[in-house]
Symmetry: C2
């Protein structure tokens, strides 16, 4: 296939600049059938692991990301970071400048950082985030997706990553309230930041353990709580180890394949819902030939491109 | 018009049981043209004021609602409460039982309480909430709408009420972080609950004042901060006074009419987005005869019923 997109081999060998160009092309030509074919080809490739970091602003996600990059690089991993910047509900614009806090080495070709503005919801992923993750996961060993959020946004993140880490800081009341009330979708790991705060941090960690014990119910994965300090480095290796354990758990329990398929369907449904609402979802599910959701399990991007073409033919006749 | 719905006069005179029956009919016959006509007739009626109370679980919204009901009743107002129960992200069900906390007198015919399950999002309003508010506002002097939320959900509430009160409690970190980061849509009033906690409560109130000063920009309404204790009654009269001041501000600035019209359009757009997505919104806006959004300003319910019929004709042919 002569394509505007490089082969996976060339992309892996091509360095950061090629990767950046490909991600830009995904955004500007999102509705091309060629883009869909490129992404469908990569989306079943099991290479990198994807860690999602979420938490309220100011909790220390960027510093933690920095510390994680450092640890993963020391372990010889090629790392990519996708930072989803919150859009301001008031101004409507992305809160820029946040990204400049990441202290990555521009000369290290094995650390790639990309930022995107979030869609309308706080903590919601960008329209192009799943496409970008699909590519980064095929090229790098470890992908870190960073979003701002609390409570409801973890659902979005769960649709796109393998392991969700919720970051909370000592003295934060609302996160605990949401956990206790059972409203928050459970993360896979909780990281209590600012462990260097001593007694206050220890108290916070035990509060989180208490809140988790109230809301966990019959899951085979026990959500661990890591106390981390990006400043002193305390707990970072433990967090990386917990993330590795969660990855191994998914693998040995045979959960990776079904999770990815569910994520593909969830992405397809999210795109259909955004473009065509509840009615679009019903039409996709009631198709006489094949339920579109079933097709989307292995070919999410191509399935959406075709469904979308059908809908537009009906509506814009 | 011979109708399944009573006239406004009969509804006002008919007591709580008739009101409850009408609200149930709105939910079960939401798509009837008759229902739309009934609601369109009421929606421009300027009678009651609508206060929205929002905040994280455990902040004390129910106790505060109790205290507000008491104060409004002492002032001779007929009061209605619409409590939007959060759905659990994990179980998918509404977290019931919360409502039993309201300590209203069942024999007082001038206090009406109704609860509804929230739509999929945390803090999101129910599909039928705006219809219910439209009726309650026409029948009662003061309507209180209670939702669970923080940050992003205030936008929803602003589409349905006159005055948004955000409740925060001493020691809550996340709410302040969201305010400081400019992510949170500003409420009209902030109530710091549990004022009986003394120094901690005073510290919280001054933190909120600080966070507000960072994010307020050129608005003509200065967001007041009320310290309230539902237990001792401290600050409740002040909060009622602040809500009254905000209502008077909207009135004298000539903002009530445009706000209601905007709310009608926002409701119409929300319904179209939910049922037909972004594509539905574009089609509504590009109609050759009249933009549907313009029609929705005065007749939101009828406009949506007609638009919906048109769309279904195209899609389900």
């Amino acid at each position: 296939m002569s394509s505007a997109f490089p082969s996976l081999e060339n992309l892996r060998a091509g360095g950061k600049r090629l990767l950046a160009r490909v991600l830009t092309r995904l955004e500007t030509r999102a509705s091309d059938p060629e883009t869909a074919a490129f992404l469908d080809q990569l989306c079943n490739c099991r290479h990198g692991r994807v860690l999602g970091l979420t938490g309220p602003p100011g909790v220390g996600k960027s510093s933690l990301t920095d510390a994680l990059i450092k640890t993963y690089r020391e372990n010889g991993k090629r790392v990519a970071v996708l930072a989803i910047d919150p859009s301001s509900a008031v101004s409507g614009g992305a809160l820029l400048g946040d990204r400049t806090r990441l202290k990555t080495d521009p000369l290290d070709d094995d650390v790639f950082v990309r930022s995107m503005a979030a869609r309308d919801r706080l903590g919601g992923l960008s329209d192009h985030a799943v496409a970008a993750i699909t590519v980064l996961r095929a090229v790098c060993d470890q992908v870190i997706v960073e979003t701002v959020g609390i409570g409801q946004s973890e659902g979005d993140l769960k649709q796109a990553v393998d392991t969700v880490v919720l970051c909370v800081q000592p003295g934060s009341g609302d996160s605990l309230q949401f956990m206790k009330a059972g409203i928050m979708e459970l993360p896979d790991i909780v990281a209590v930041t600012k462990a260097d705060m001593g007694a206050l941090a220890r108290r916070a960690a035990s509060d989180v353990v208490g809140a988790l014990s109230l809301s966990s119910g019959g899951q085979s994965w026990q959500v661990p709580v890591s106390s981390v300090s990006s400043q002193t480095g305390e707990g970072i290796a433990d967090l990386v180890e917990q993330a590795g354990k969660h990855g191994a758990y998914l693998q040995t329990a045979g959960l990776v394949e079904p999770m990815r398929r569910n994520q593909h369907v969830a992405w397809f449904e999210d795109m259909v819902r955004t473009a065509y609402g509840q009615t679009g979802l019903e039409l996709a599910g009631n198709d006489k030939v094949t339920r579109w959701q079933d097709r989307a399990q292995d070919r999410p991007f191509g399935s959406y491109a075709e469904f979308s073409e059908n809908m537009n033919r009906l509506l814009r006749a």
